[in-house]
Symmetry: C2
Subunit: 586 residues, 2 copies
Amino acid sequence: MSARKTVGILGGGQLGRMLTHPAALLGIPLLILDSGEYTPAKQTLLPPQFTSHPDGPFTSESHIRELAKQCDVLTVEIEHVNADVLEAVEKEGLCEVQPSPGTIRLIQDKYLQKKYLADRGIPVAPFQVLSANPTEEDVKSVASQLGLPVMLKARTLAYDGRGNSPLQTTESGDIAKSLKHLGDRPLYAEGWAPFVKEVAVMVVRNKQGEVRSYDAVETVHRDSILRVCLAPLRASGKGMEGVNSRARELAEKAVATLEGAGIFGVEMFLMADGSLLLNEIAPRPHNSGHHTIEACNTSQFENHLRAILSLPLGSTALRVPSAAMINILGVDGEMAPVLAMADSALPVPGATSHLYGKAESRKARKMGHITLTASSDAELRLGLRTILKAQPDLDDTFIDTHAPPPPERSHSHKQPLVGIIMGSDSDLPVMLPATKILEQFGIPYELTLTSAHRTPARMTEYAHSAVSRGLRCIIAGAGGAAHLPGMVASETALPVIGVPVKASVLDGVDSLYSILQMPRGCPTATVGINNSTNAALLAVRILGTSIPSLAVAMEKYQHDLADEVLAKCETLEEEGWEKYVQRLKK
Amino acid sequence: MSARKTVGILGGGQLGRMLTHPAALLGIPLLILDSGEYTPAKQTLLPPQFTSHPDGPFTSESHIRELAKQCDVLTVEIEHVNADVLEAVEKEGLCEVQPSPGTIRLIQDKYLQKKYLADRGIPVAPFQVLSANPTEEDVKSVASQLGLPVMLKARTLAYDGRGNSPLQTTESGDIAKSLKHLGDRPLYAEGWAPFVKEVAVMVVRNKQGEVRSYDAVETVHRDSILRVCLAPLRASGKGMEGVNSRARELAEKAVATLEGAGIFGVEMFLMADGSLLLNEIAPRPHNSGHHTIEACNTSQFENHLRAILSLPLGSTALRVPSAAMINILGVDGEMAPVLAMADSALPVPGATSHLYGKAESRKARKMGHITLTASSDAELRLGLRTILKAQPDLDDTFIDTHAPPPPERSHSHKQPLVGIIMGSDSDLPVMLPATKILEQFGIPYELTLTSAHRTPARMTEYAHSAVSRGLRCIIAGAGGAAHLPGMVASETALPVIGVPVKASVLDGVDSLYSILQMPRGCPTATVGINNSTNAALLAVRILGTSIPSLAVAMEKYQHDLADEVLAKCETLEEEGWEKYVQRLKK
């Protein structure tokens, strides 16, 4: 496959390792520069034309120059590289470097990165540079400008939270402790961003500046290390509409301002009002995009290779409705607990374990990860719960927050697929049969009250947030004027099933017409008067179009209905119709 | 990861190569026995405890014994191995062998395999053994028993059709030619199976005899080599109901009769009446299961490793609604056309190219494959068309058959997601607005007539085959007694949307009640009288639950509706309502 350009990678860890698989599939020769003969990335692929991967530090000028001579394009799996050497290598025409050394240098300094983005209109938390070897007064001065608490941050060589120190007060002792913790690196300060969720978006950019983003994900950190990642991003409440698209647009806009080709990981804060602040960008594959291997059309790793080699960018679309990534962190020096965590995923449908082949385990070292894909959020959280329970560092509070247990009987599910709503609790007797059917089919649902006339704002918010909360169908019951189903259908793109409730007059015909006779443009799916059973069965059929097991269950339900009638025929035959009718009357 | 058992593989081709990736993810050390230092499987992984893969023929007793000493479990990626040596190795306690050498030996002899299966009640085409060095009379005798045409087949060492010779007549010349073609191998004869499709099912079996099948696929051969594979199996017409489940049950039953653990590829013929005949079984990963890497929860390769190592079997469920696999066959000795075929897939959303790293290309040699996943059959065929057009050996007839072009205007799509049906062509004016909406959203649909009262059998067959044809929703229009929507809903598990058509009397209220007031157990989704526009919009919303781009398009449609009204408000404001109404009247 000599028609492909040879790619050199600075860094031989797990990110490099995950680049080797798509490289093998595409026939791209890869050379990995790192110290050691058997790093994670060096275990998995060696192009036939080379006898070994180069052995040496990925920051060493001589090794980089040697590698550059053997390659057509150099890239990085870590940003803490020697940008000056990369720039020289490119200027001298030894080899192309992607992303551009200038972008890598910019990103290496978190303060310059933030300033660059802020200057280009990207929203970030307020920040302020600190002078070299800052005094207590310097810190007090930025704290008074940015407010307390304030985050002191190392400008360089910071990752997994190791260069951050939050400051709650401006007492001398606290300031001295923070400055000591951060050492003598250059620092800057950042105002507190009281986020409700952390969010990340992977963006691939080619040399022509075309950018494509993946769906936004929620990233859950613990002790400043990414622990769990949930795709796509879900959010509920006022201001959260379209948060996934807004996060993607922001990430694309930020990456579009940078130079060079490759994949970029964009980390953001989601604030309580639904607004987004950009936190930082990584110029390489990122832990928050590992799920893309199984969950997306083209993985972040393959898209990185495509981008730096000017091959067509791949589709970033999710292949599945729901996905999660769970990092496998070392517990101690032993390999056995690592293997046990990986194996906890084996019985979980849709889970794939990825071990990184690291020779040694250490506490909190990233030893592997697990990807989980599912046909719904509820199914995802169920599998996630099994996997999280096998992680020794996680307590019940963490597990219950991110993978709650199934709800108690007659309570709403936290990840519902169907919402059952009605304007008044007097509709409950008519609507409850729907819950029976959904329970019979194992479908997660929620049930609540919202009225078109008494709580119009609540109704609108419910309808607007339905998609971003993961709902796929709404059943709305209403009587009399019966505006609820149609009004909700007008405020969401989901299918809305209307149940006409028989009110005190007109036998429900008023409700029926009000729900059914919607104007062209905005449909409701109407079922028979008071027939919430059929509404739920219709919801099952609708969900069956995306969850094949439900389609199979519906076929069985229909067969069972037929069998029931056939059994009645037998009884009729056996005991005669007179006796049959008498028994019915009892 | 020394807690894992070491696996030895006989054979170092692409099947072995595709085993190495899940092995790396699970931390399983693999050793590959094959001649050559750089076969496809040897390029990708070498466990740290070994310095090289063994080099030698995978049929050599001494090499197998040497490998067995280094491994815990031996397995095969090709069935043409030395079963006697494997049996001895296992008996002597050198190493476990999976699947069992007895199973491999049985499968190596196609006649014994067929007899074994037939004896256990598995349906196969009629067959008859031939004596060693058969005479013309011997062949005439089996031909008279099995009928013409008859297939003469080599019992051993046959693959990709190389051991098959069809006989159309019993003329001396033809018989002599066939026997010469087959050489002096032991032979048997098989009655002709006039299949409508070839079908395959992958089945994984663990040591305890648990079997799990993948969804059935359609396999398309050309010159006896697998060319395209389509998942899941689609079939239409009488007798084809439930064909996917029936194929899976048959394959599971067959594999359950065999001994040992591992993945098995089961090839079948689908006959015109919907019945299935088992053709043959491969005791290893199979070309008809390559799509499982991207398209299923756990790939055939990972499940093979799990099975032979007694790890929990993984879920075989499809992750996506639709998938295809296209083999990349060598054109000549050049690598450039191979690369060009792989690259034809890069711009296609959902396509992944897999090159096998073979050092040399040859005509019709399997050099790689492309997997394509899609959210619908129609989207799949669209991408497939692009990919097939880049395969130099395929003509337009082949391409048009398996990846038809989009239909001409106002003709039905070959892979519809929505079926629009009505009892009479007099309903066409009411139902046609639905086609406009579906076209606007780019949704493939079909439109046809079927009447509950005039063509009840046709209606039933339509409803029964809807799922296996890939439909996800049916829109049925009916007037008066209006039985069609409800009757169709009773015969399918799909959501059925009913459009009450206004007949000559009663203003459509008769149709409305007849469609809406279905008994508990069998719902229709009813829309307003004559409002097929809303029926189609409801279908879009339903499809949007499985095709995210449609949900986005629906949101845009709703915004556009709002904008339209806002524009009218502006006009009203500008020109005043008197002028506005006068303009409306024109």
